[in-house]
Symmetry: D2
């Protein structure tokens, strides 16, 4: 299957549909069933000890898989997250940006499953991993 | 085991340690191994369709289990989330507050496990569930 | 909603559909959206140190939620597990039976979600917890 | 870090410690932080519709990450699974063997995290994925 939305189309969709958060995320690369999304970390994403908050890491994982799904099925879909599992493995570097590398493992008629590794600039090993399931509404034609 | 922190002590701790988000959460009830935390939903927690965002639900689940752990071991602990699984089951009511009912299933020397049901005011069945694992640092005495 | 299958009907279904494992499980109690399933632990379920194997605990959690779903929608359904999260919290007692207490948190048109606490006879706190999602095939009428 | 156990050493350990199930698994390849484990599927692993049972897929994922951990820390460790999340994405081919490709994402002092893709011979896309956390006992020197 080919891409229905490229990085530019995904960015335009985000700006329109999620104006509150769209500015946080940049699609670095998108390919069939794969995406890389960068997140600029600012003060409001931090917690004591200058660590990135859990909800911030969750939101990046969620957005990355969401955009990977949309890149394949197009902007009309009201996909919703139904399940997430996430492991927080290392402390992200304080002021560093985050990078999510997501791949879709399944893109079915009803459910899509993607997993994500999140990297913190300057830390070689991933700081977190997540798997998300999206429910795809029937009228996706 | 008894409580080391009551609702008031937990609120004071939150205000001190997490000033950015402490105002969102109210500890309604705390008992040994159990807590109820209420979250006032405001515009910045919403997504298109007036639904509550996934990261908002995640942050409530995370805070509820975190405070349940602290209520048992005291404020000195730098517990960090190591794992989360979460199911998003129903759409929360648009303007309604959220209520998390959490219980600790395990409070070990190294790991604590708690699960949470999240309710949206006016919806009888839970809108989400989560299980979180916290790693407890050695020096908790 | 009421029950479409009681304990006897569930046992008959298991014996017919899953003859290899049906003998391991006994439905102790079934009520709308709730079930208790007992598992007799035998030598082949054990691991070194006389502990119950992870796959054994998984199979009990899986069967308990599966039977809870069937009790509500009837035996015609080819429900399949799509997701499981599980926490192994304590060591079960060596020779003791296991008891799974499951409840359905959601029984939708397409997905059902149930969670389970597993107890080991003689240990007060749960030894494991799990949440399972089942995909329900369209033709369930 | 280098390997403390190669494929042969892992097989010998399995035969000694898990005689009931060791025969099901073959370590095809082991490298630092990575392992491939093959499982021969026999009748007792099947379910109605000639599909491989969930507990069978779980046991393969569990063994693969367990052996990956042991390959790095040696046979003396009594590592136990503390958490698992698993997605069942496609039906395995009936008579076909299974292949688990696991990698360790974290190998800490206390916790190890690994994820696994499970393939069924003759099906290109993975049939299941899992992430497992192992707790590593203190005396691992």
């Amino acid at each position: 299957m080919g891409l229905k939305m490229d990085a530019e189309a995904l960015a335009a969709f985000m700006a329109r549909a999620f104006p509150q958060v769209a500015g946080d995320f940049v699609v670095e690369r998108v390919a069939p069933m794969e995406i890389t999304v960068r997140m600029e970390v600012s003060d409001r994403h931090l917690r004591p000890g200058d660590t990135v908050s859990g909800p911030t890491l969750f939101s990046l994982a969620d957005v990355a898989v969401y955009l990977a799904v949309l890149s394949m099925i197009g902007p009309q879909a009201l996909a919703v997250t139904t399940n997430c599992s996430m492991d927080f493995m290392r402390k992200p570097a304080p002021g560093a940006d985050l990078r999510a590398e997501a791949r879709l493992l399944k893109l079915g008629r009803v459910l899509a499953v993607g997993d994500v590794l999140i990297y913190s600039d300057g830390v070689e090993a991933p700081v977190a991993r997540a798997t998300l399931t999206y429910s795809i509404p029937p009228a996706r034609g």
